[in-house]
Symmetry: C2
Subunit: 340 residues, 2 copies
Amino acid sequence: MDVGHRALTGPGDEAVARCRKLVEPALREAVAVLHPWGAAMAAFTLGWSGIDGKPRHHGAGKGLRPAIALLSAEAAGGTAEPALPAAAAVELVHAFSLVHDDIIDNDEQRRHREALWKAYGVGPALVTGDALLALAVRQLAGHPAAMRHLSAALVELVQGQTADMAFEQRAWAGPDRVSTEEYLEMAAGKTGGLLGAAAAAGVELGGAPQLAPRMWDMGRDLGVAFQIVDDILGIWGDPDVTGKPVHSDLRREKKTLPILAALSSGTTAARELSAVLMSGATDDDTVRYAAGLAEQAGGRDAAQALAERYLSSALHALDECLPDAAELRDLCRSLVDRVN
Amino acid sequence: MDVGHRALTGPGDEAVARCRKLVEPALREAVAVLHPWGAAMAAFTLGWSGIDGKPRHHGAGKGLRPAIALLSAEAAGGTAEPALPAAAAVELVHAFSLVHDDIIDNDEQRRHREALWKAYGVGPALVTGDALLALAVRQLAGHPAAMRHLSAALVELVQGQTADMAFEQRAWAGPDRVSTEEYLEMAAGKTGGLLGAAAAAGVELGGAPQLAPRMWDMGRDLGVAFQIVDDILGIWGDPDVTGKPVHSDLRREKKTLPILAALSSGTTAARELSAVLMSGATDDDTVRYAAGLAEQAGGRDAAQALAERYLSSALHALDECLPDAAELRDLCRSLVDRVN
């Protein structure tokens, strides 16, 4: 769900950095109203300071979601400013979801440092997540059209998270196995909704509300592509780059697309992979072996191809809505290309 | 924070039951969009079903917050219906806050049964809390004026929760002790904000937006009174009635008003209470002894008097805004009178 910390390469980079600078004052202003302790935890989780409270200059997310909101507004109406509340809101929701995800998944690391719950305790982290969400809602309270997109994304987000958790309890094989369709619905909720809201609220506040429904679809498809790439990097990415422990998704029986695709390939490797996964062993050797089998069974390629297909669909919608949105187009592409 | 499950006595009762019937279809409709697992957890936490998924007819909250919203709307404009989205939203936020509070406080019991996290696990409960909040936001997404009240209440709520947690880490005596003023600010946030939003959004949607600021103050004062009474019942209430383990606030070093008031009384009992609390002992005998000392030191009476003062202030505001709101007036009074 979080790929923002990985180095992006490509022409979208500069635009993202510009948008990050635009939205940061709004984020800092939002967080400043919190209780000092809450503000410190929010600053930690947003990457602005260390656990010692001292400012730091790495560990922040790239700010992809605000960039999508601001670039959508610019392309729709000429200026990014009207979409700043939406940009801040989607970044705050993203931060909220990471804080709660790390508690749920018991993940101790985030962006190369301790997860918030690990640094401050579960209770304080939980409330800080709630606070980030409250601040997000507050950003858009006075903008009902954009608020509708945000609230739809919130509902999608919790649906996707619930489905993702429910998948962990299902078997790898047999009638109870998770289908690709179920995975795609989960990913559209967990990751797509918020990207959809960023794009839709961006054009809504940018002065082109008629484009909002199509931009919502654009963002959702982009989100699915994004999540699939995240799954690929979670298995075959370099932990030094991703900031996450290697193979943690496999260990946790996360039903990720590359594994689901591998299992349904009908190959010998698929049968062996199934047996290995069903054994329940999670030692390093077994998990590394499973990752190899998944690749042999074509899971990695199939996932990459599906990510490309969702990206194409997103770009098609984008070209229809905003044919001159070159920076946004570059940004979308860079999110999928980064695995190459 | 939760007193809704205790038997109310008094003339407000019937109105609350009527409002509960009015809002329930909206709540059921909201929850129905969730993932089946999420819907089951929401139904459990709202008291509609047991962990076996079977319907049950006790364990639901009284629905005080929706009653405040609906009775405010009725008194302001003649009908409750326009305020139904606000009524559902405040009840969903209340449910969200209880689910997360029980995780934070490690409370295993809620309304005479297992807390949601105890029944389903921390991760699923956490997401269900988030889902209830998402549904609340969705209720009011199209009502910007009411949404502003709700989002202000959300920010207050997390501020109050953060302050309450921070208090637990502070000493009972000495320069770091929690002052009554700090307590009152915390209670106004943790409990007052949502009651303020219920009242303000109620008149807002009921057709009298000019009353909203004063009704917000009314609800906040009522919330402070409510929280103080909750604190009193948490120490001297009957656990069979409250559904909470006896003295749990004392064991957890919660800085509740009766104890703070007792400690600042300058009595011999206060000095002894201070010594007992500073010892850190939390066995049954010590905690019971501390409760006795707090009563001797006048903490219970002082808390009760302060609750009455906040109730008076709330009723004064209510009489100014809605002089004919007899049912709402009765309801407010019953919330404080229930300790007598």
